[in-house]
């Protein structure tokens, strides 16, 4: 235990606190350029590539949401596939059975995932740490088992998504691509806004010491529940994106624990607790998936070993390596002190990673 005595005059009266850095302005330009160019893809790329990009976008959404939950909220869930499945089934049900326009059904499916996750959070929050992890997994299994017993949802066989059947394949994939692009931009933007807000600062405090944060007035459980619901909505969106792309839902595959494996490996490899990490991780994961596709099961073995090694020896992941442990940041969520004498920007004082 160390006691620090802070003398008031040590803090320079003209000290300034900044959030953005040169790299974050550069990052903003790059991100803005990408967002401006990306909608043109359906006019340039073939259908297969657009479908692959939709898969990549869904991986980024999942990983970003898992990172919000675990990297910022400290809740390691192995059960986010519950909301992927709920989002997927809600899309099929609202579009094909209720008869809504599929593009209306997607945001509604996201809301359904959020609404269902709210009562579930009361159950899941009775557990913590590793038992929370397995508990969320059990909940995902139970939701799958219940859906398997419902004939109206196709039981164990599943359903085909027919919402887009009156569109030509080229038009359909373009619409799904734009939808997914909007989804991925929105997911990252919302995470960024949350982490820059007062809530984000509270999370940094919770992650470092939940009891101390609580005693300083951070509403620990409420903040965690908020993030739990947001992450469920994000995964619901990913589920809707996957279904719009593959046109099929089947309980075993849409509720597969493999989605949890993907999310966790992506975030660990990319860098947990940063906004950039899951994006970098998803791109690396996706590239490896294409590259190592011939290796079959060895592919998951290699990824698993890489994830273990990174957990043990490079806890900040690839983004930590690229950014020089946080010196470069495209999405500044922390605060940095500007040295009043030299004008240099110092390391994060209240960083979210």
């Amino acid at each position: 235990m160390t006691t620090e005595i802070v003398h008031p005059h040590v803090v320079h009266p003209h000290a300034k606190v900044r959030r953005a850095t040169k790299s974050s302005w550069a990052g903003l330009v790059v991100v803005a350029a990408l967002i401006l160019v990306a909608p043109a893809a359906p006019y340039i790329l073939d259908r297969g590539t657009q479908g692959s990009l939709v898969t990549l976008f869904s991986l980024i959404v999942m990983a970003t949401m898992w990172n919000l939950l675990a990297g910022y909220g400290g809740m390691l869930s192995v059960g986010q596939q519950a909301y992927i499945g709920i989002g997927a089934y809600a899309l099929v049900y609202l579009s094909d059975k209720v008869g809504l326009d599929p593009f209306m059904a997607v945001p509604l499916a996201v809301v359904v995932a959020g609404v269902i996750s709210f009562p579930i959070s009361y159950l899941a929050f009775r557990l913590s740490g590793g038992y929370f992890a397995i508990g969320t997994w059990v909940i995902a299994v139970v939701i799958m088992e219940i859906i398997e017993q419902v004939p109206a949802l196709g039981g164990g066989i599943g359903e085909t998504f027919k919402g887009f059947s009156d569109l030509g394949p080229g038009t359909r994939i373009a619409y799904v691509y734009w939808l997914s692009l909007a989804g991925v931009v929105l997911s990252v933007a919302i995470t960024y806004v949350i982490m820059r807000s007062r809530l984000g600062l509270g999370f940094t405090a919770i992650r470092d010491d939940a009891i101390a944060a609580g005693s300083l007035g951070v509403r620990v459980t409420r903040s965690k529940r908020f993030v739990f619901v947001v992450a469920a909505m994000g995964c619901g969106l990913a589920g809707a994106m996957i279904t719009a792309n593959t046109l099929r839902v089947q309980p075993d595959s849409i509720f597969s624990v493999n989605y949890a494996v993907f999310m966790i490996f992506i975030v660990v490899i990319g860098g947990i607790g940063t906004i950039e990490g899951p994006i970098v991780g998803a791109i690396v994961f996706f590239a490896l998936q294409q590259w190592l596709a011939d290796l079959g099961a060895w592919y998951m073995v290699i990824l698993g070993v890489v994830a273990i090694v990174i957990t043990l020896f490079l806890p900040r992941g690839l983004w930590g390596l690229i950014s020089g442990n946080g010196r470069i940041r495209l999405f500044p969520v922390g605060y940095r002190l500007v040295n009043p004498l030299t004008g240099e920007i110092q390391a994060d004082t209240a960083s979210a990673d």
């Binding site: 390691l76 397995i134 059990v138 219940i146 490996f265 073995v301 273990i308």
Partner: protein, 289 residues
């Protein structure tokens, strides 16, 4: 009568779940690690047993004598190779490392042994049963599994309260900062704890393989059942885990009685009900492990 039979089968099944859960409980009790690879390791033990049985032609009970020290060795090495380092990194690292290990193990087993189900053949023992009434009979192998489960839990309980290493394990759990001052290396205590935990996993995996079929992905279900037994029984109580295993086993057996596809679902729902209405479990904190 059918229901009484279901309850008896459920209690015996619960013995297997408690046996599986003992190692999970022990590692959590000593190091606060929830070993997400626990189920995969139990299946690994069953496959090691299968290799020995097929290679030498001995009975699974003889193979068990080799499997337990092999699994204990695996545990010792895993603790030094992965978990001690993960504990030093802190935060979510132990969980993430264990999760990675679970995926790697189940994939490797799939590559080596294929996804087909296997079982450990016990010959006439697999069909031997004790006749009680015309409708109720108790399988000898399930009964043996139950008895072994109770003995393992009893043995762990005595070991933790009486043996010097057991005391060191409890001390390392209660106050990891003070233990090194007494000249004990926490990391070595942790390694021996994981060795003991995986020794029990070895026993559990072998009985699991003798009682029924297993495949490389069966570890997921085993982890979930072991976890449910721990939570239903109450964290930190080994006897609670036994009770939890029996409650889960009875729920599954009674669910299967209604409809064979309901077994696991009913077990999971009973677990969620207990989590909702009695989150401390049935026998909370009777003994600290």
């Amino acid at each position: 009568m059918q229901w009484i039979n279901a309850i008896i089968q459920g209690i015996l099944l619960g013995g297997l779940y408690a046996l599986l859960a003992a190692g999970l409980s022990l590692m959590f009790g000593v190091m606060r690690i929830v070993n997400l690879a626990h189920g995969a390791l139990a299946i690994l033990a069953a496959y090691i047993g299968l290799v020995i049985v097929q290679g030498t032609g001995v009975s699974p009970f003889i193979a068990l004598i080799a499997v337990v020290p092999i699994m204990a060795g695996v545990g010792y090495l895993l603790q030094w190779g992965i978990f001690n380092r993960a504990l030093r990194v802190g935060g979510l690292a132990p969980l993430l490392a264990a999760f990675g290990l679970a995926v790697v193990l189940s994939q490797l087993m799939q590559l080596k042994f294929s996804a087909d189900s296997q079982s450990l053949q016990t010959g006439s023992l697999s069909i031997a049963s004790i006749h009680i009434t015309d409708e109720i009979s108790i399988g000898v192998l399930p009964l043996m599994t139950f008895v072994v489960g109770v003995l393992v839990i009893f043995g762990l309980q005595v070991f933790l309260s009486k043996a010097p290493l057991g005391r060191a394990m409890r001390a390392a759990s209660d106050d990891p900062e003070t233990v090194p001052l007494m000249g004990i290396d926490n990391r070595q205590v942790y390694a021996l704890s994981t060795a003991i935990a995986l020794g029990t996993v070895g026993i559990a995996g072998m009985f699991l393989g003798m009682r029924g079929n297993f495949d490389p992905n069966y570890g997921q279900a085993m982890l979930i059942f072991a976890f449910e037994a721990v939570i239903i029984g109450g964290l930190g109580s080994l006897w609670g885990t036994l009770a939890g295993g029996m409650v889960l086993g009875i729920a599954q057996a009674m669910g299967s009685q209604v409809n064979p596809s309901y077994g696991v679902l009913v077990g999971n729902l009973v677990f969620l009900l207990i989590l909702a209405f009695r989150p401390t479990g049935l026998l909370p904190k009777a003994v600290t492990t």
